[in-house]
């Protein structure tokens, strides 16, 4: 597919989505639709879709224990085992998984191959790891900070995270580190996809769409806060009413809030049907969530079935004469010919 279409179409879709929410609320006053109905539907679809997908995965069997071992196995006591990269116990697996989920262990291994004439070299390549980490952690913290909109009083931990997150603050309005990191990291991931030939080549529209969507959410959130300066109390009025299932549309919130909310809703709806499911998927990945202890503990395949084999008896019947001639013992002398 042409690069222009591959990148342009998802971008247009996201811009169109933002415009729909803006015009829908600003010109047609569909505040109820964009502020209440769609968010509710989106959340419901997210939960249902997410669960369906997990059930689908979970219903597929795990016939074999196939961890990718990335270090020394457990063998004799004097050989030092790589307990996290090649775990043999459940604790080791949990450790490996935590490293993977919290620190992106495998991505940290990344290198870049260079071919110079007839020579190959492998250079360090930690940028993807760094920005992926920055993106995912900022997103987590930002989502966590949003909890202030759904609790009254605001839990101390949320306020605590906010304080830390705004530690570089000089003057007003408050600038959150994670806001900057989030937009920066998503931009990096987008540029990387466009600039690196290999990554551009393998990218689908499905890869650009969520990036633009996230960028749209990030930007709409940032401008809402720093430029439109919308009434945060009114926003909380809305969110608290949603939590209480007694939705109230407040005054004093501009269409920008609905743009933000609508893009988040689209993300929620899109999530379970897309590659974004890598988030729960990693926990189910058989090459990462299993211990390398097959030789010590038997793994059972739920659909194991008997197969046709060539038995020793058949073998001896066929080769008994030849076996006898070279002095090999036979189970049945009748096979000696």
């Amino acid at each position: 597919m042409n690069n222009g279409i591959k990148i342009g179409v998802p971008l247009l879709i996201v811009v169109a989505l933002a415009a729909i929410a803006w015009i829908g609320t600003d010109a047609f006053h569909l505040d109820m639709l964009f502020g209440v109905i769609i968010p509710y539907i989106a959340l419901a679809l997210f939960i249902v879709g997410f669960v369906i997908r997990i059930i689908k995965w979970a219903r597929s069997a795990v016939p074999f224990r196939i961890p990718t071992t990335c270090g020394q196995e457990k063998s004799m006591p004097w050989v030092k085992q790589a307990k996290l990269d090649n775990p043999s116990s459940s604790a080791g697996v949990v450790g490996r998984m935590l490293l993977e989920v919290l620190c992106f262990r495998s991505l940290f291994r990344n290198s870049k191959a260079k071919k110079d004439g007839d020579k190959l070299s492998f250079g360090s390549a930690k940028w993807l790891w760094l920005f992926a980490l920055a993106f995912h952690w900022s997103m987590l913290i930002i989502v966590f900070r949003h909890l202030r909109l759904f609790f009254e009083p605001v839990p101390a931990i949320v306020t605590g995270v906010e304080v830390v997150d705004s530690a570089f603050q000089i003057g007003l309005p408050i600038i959150y580190i994670t806001d900057v990191l989030f937009v920066g990291a998503v931009t990096f991931l987008f540029l990387r996809r466009v600039v690196l030939p290999q990554v551009r080549y393998i990218s689908l529209q499905n890869d650009f769409f969520p990036l633009f969507l996230l960028l749209g959410i990030g930007i709409s959130g940032v401008v809402m806060r720093y430029f439109f300066r919308i009434d945060i109390v009114a926003v909380k009025e809305l969110t608290m009413s949603l939590v209480a299932f007694q939705p109230v549309i407040p005054e004093n919130v501009g269409p920008i809030l609905y743009v933000h909310l609508f893009l988040v809703s689209v993300l929620l709806i899109y999530f379970p049907w897309s590659k974004l499911m890598h988030a729960p998927g990693i926990f189910l990945s058989p090459t990462r969530n299993m211990a390398n202890n097959n030789r010590a503990v038997r793994h059972v395949n739920p659909w194991n079935y008997p197969v046709k084999v060539h038995s020793y008896e058949e073998y001896e019947e066929e080769y008994g004469e030849k076996m006898k001639r070279v002095g090999l013992p036979l189970d049945s002398e009748t096979n000696a010919g």
């Binding site: 063998s75 004799m76 993807l128 393998i202 090459t287 194991n304 076996m323």
Partner: protein, 557 residues
């Protein structure tokens, strides 16, 4: 091979094609693919939908309903393998795997980037098994299953050695080996195997080993090797076969019974085991550790693998010892017990020499010979003279399977360091869990696809070149029969003059059999350059410079 010009082979960039991959037709390039499996070979083992066809033809003579068969096969496997379904769904195309595949690094063909090789299948999965793919088609990265797509699958799933290097780098552990395995299973539903895989499979099923050695030939080959071993060491060994009541069943890859340099490795095993006086036996029925069935289908792999436990049970041994082989150990470690266990007729493996209990093999009851030998060395149970290998400057190639599907990294190194004085590691990015494949694994070590093999092995060979230049390395040690079969050609092509050896060949050379072991020949029957000389019968007082001459004269080689 002479036709294959190195400059031309390396005249590529690690880039991408000008056209989007879905619109880039697959051109079958001679030297990059294998011959088609013959119908009669596949019929031996009862594979479905066998037919005669040729991989270089346009028309593959497909069964009428090939598409339904494949899609049904996919559906079935999506339910049977969580790995398959998950790996179809969760890839984000971050590209971390893109430059990790040795075939991409050696060809620059973008469809050899693991992510794209997976997309070949994923795009069809989306089209038939996801709502978005059904609704939006190409916009959602989906495409129809056509004969062109099928040909593309065949071409590229037989350009993957299932080495799992991509999987080590993938943030979700997506393993292209799993996808290739599924892809090949699907192709085998409609009779599309390669001749180089189907042949060994039917051999192994009927005769017990890939190379098709009948019992009398095995015995003859072994006798021949034992004669050579006697010439080298002065010791006559007579390993037993099919002997009931032995304590240990020893299973090796059949390549070690058949061709150099594997035969030298076999001589090394036997010299060690006989020297220890171990109560072991080999089997002509279970005369194969490797398993080309694994490159065909899961079921086929299980059928071939069954012989090891069956024979261990019939002979009444206590446990199984396994030779140096890569994919054999992937299967022993990750599949055998699940397929054909529980091996409750066997006992927890215990080394009769050191008393070590191999608790890590408590269920499978099968021990790798480098674990066994490393344990011997650790407990000081064998005398070694590493100086016999002094003319060898050794580096160690981790085989893909023992590294990334087992983690057998230190044991072979421990041995090599004790039997050789000159050992140098290749660059860190090319060893251990990041090891680069020989380029000929997973059934690709045929003759007609030599260009593919040389390309796929180029990254490994280039890493060897770097230690040749830096340290003067001249020997590539390994613990894999495919390596021993494929690497000599690879080394000859890229870095001529590099010797390929199994670890136990080095052990056999260094093993001191007794106080009077003044061997002058190594297991290849070549002179050991600095072999120790037996003491002169009656040392006479001589001039100071004459010492060397005296000992030279005393050689009884």
């Amino acid at each position: 091979m002479a036709k294959l010009n190195k400059e031309e082979v390396l005249n590529f960039e690690l880039g991408v094609a000008d056209t989007p991959w879905m619109d880039t037709p697959t051109v079958f390039k001679e030297g990059m693919y294998c011959h088609a499996a013959k119908k009669k070979t596949l019929d031996v083992v009862g594979m479905p939908n066998t037919h005669d066809w040729s991989s270089s033809d346009e028309d593959w003579n497909l069964p009428e309903d090939w598409k339904e068969i494949l899609l049904d096969g996919m559906k079935d496997r999506l339910e049977k393998y969580r790995s398959f379904r998950l790996f179809m769904d969760v890839c984000v195309r971050c590209g971390a795997c893109a430059d990790k595949c040795h075939f991409y690094l050696g060809s620059g063909d973008p469809k050899n980037m693991p992510v794209l090789r997976a997309e070949l299948l994923r795009s069809v999965y989306r089209r038939y098994f996801t709502t978005s793919g059904k609704l939006f088609g190409k916009l959602a990265g989906a495409r129809d299953l056509t004969e062109e797509v099928l040909h593309e699958w065949w071409y590229y799933f037989y350009q993957c050695t299932e080495c799992r290097r991509c999987s080590a780098f993938c943030p979700y552990g997506i393993d292209q080996a799993e996808i290739t395995i599924m892809g090949r299973e699907l192709l085998n539903l409609i009779g599309l195997n390669t001749d180089w895989i189907a042949g060994p499979v039917s051999n192994c099923f009927m005769k017990g080993n890939h190379v098709g050695l009948e019992p009398q030939t095995i015995m003859g080959n072994v006798e021949f090797m034992m004669d050579d071993l006697e010439e080298a060491t002065g010791v006559h060994c007579e390993p037993s076969f099919n002997r009931k009541g032995a304590e240990i069943l020893f299973v090796v890859p059949s390549g070690d019974l058949y061709a150099e340099p594997g035969t030298f490795t076999f001589m090394g095993y036997i010299l060690l085991l006989e020297h220890l006086g171990l109560d072991y036996t080999l089997s002509t029925y279970a005369s194969e550790g490797g398993n080309f069935g694994f490159f065909t289908s899961n079921e086929m792999a299980k059928r071939l693998n069954s012989k090891m436990y069956a024979e261990a049970k019939r002979l009444g041994v206590k446990w199984i010892l396994g030779g140096e082989c890569g994919h054999m150990w992937r299967l022993v470690n990750q599949y055998m017990d699940t397929w054909n266990g529980p091996a409750d007729f066997l006992e927890m493996p215990v080394s009769p020499i050191t008393g070590t209990k191999f608790e890590n093999a408590a269920s499978t009851k099968m021990v790798h010979i480098t674990e066994f030998t490393a344990d011997l060395i650790y407990h000081n149970k064998i005398k070694l003279d590493p100086s016999r290998n002094d003319h060898l400057n050794v580096t160690f190639h981790d085989s893909c399977n023992t590294s990334r599907a087992m983690g057998l990294l230190e044991e072979p190194r421990y041995i090599v360091k004790h039997v050789c004085n000159n050992f140098h590691e290749m660059p860190e990015e090319t060893i251990r869990e990041k090891t680069l494949c020989c380029g000929s694994g997973a059934g690709l070590n045929a003759g007609e696809n030599m260009e593919l093999r040389m390309r796929g092995g180029y990254p490994r060979a280039d890493a060897v070149r770097s230690v040749i230049e830096r340290f003067g390395v001249n020997t590539l040690a390994n613990i894999c029969a495919i390596d021993r079969a494929a690497m000599p050609a690879l080394m000859d092509y890229w870095v001529p003059g590099t010797r390929v050896t199994g670890v136990h060949e080095l052990v056999g050379n260094a093993l001191v059999l007794g106080d009077d072991d003044y061997r002058q020949l190594d297991l290849r029957l070549e002179e050991i350059p600095n072999a120790k000389q037996p003491p002169a019968p009656e040392p006479e007082p001589v001039a100071e410079t004459a010492e060397g001459e005296a000992s030279e004269g005393g050689s009884n080689a």
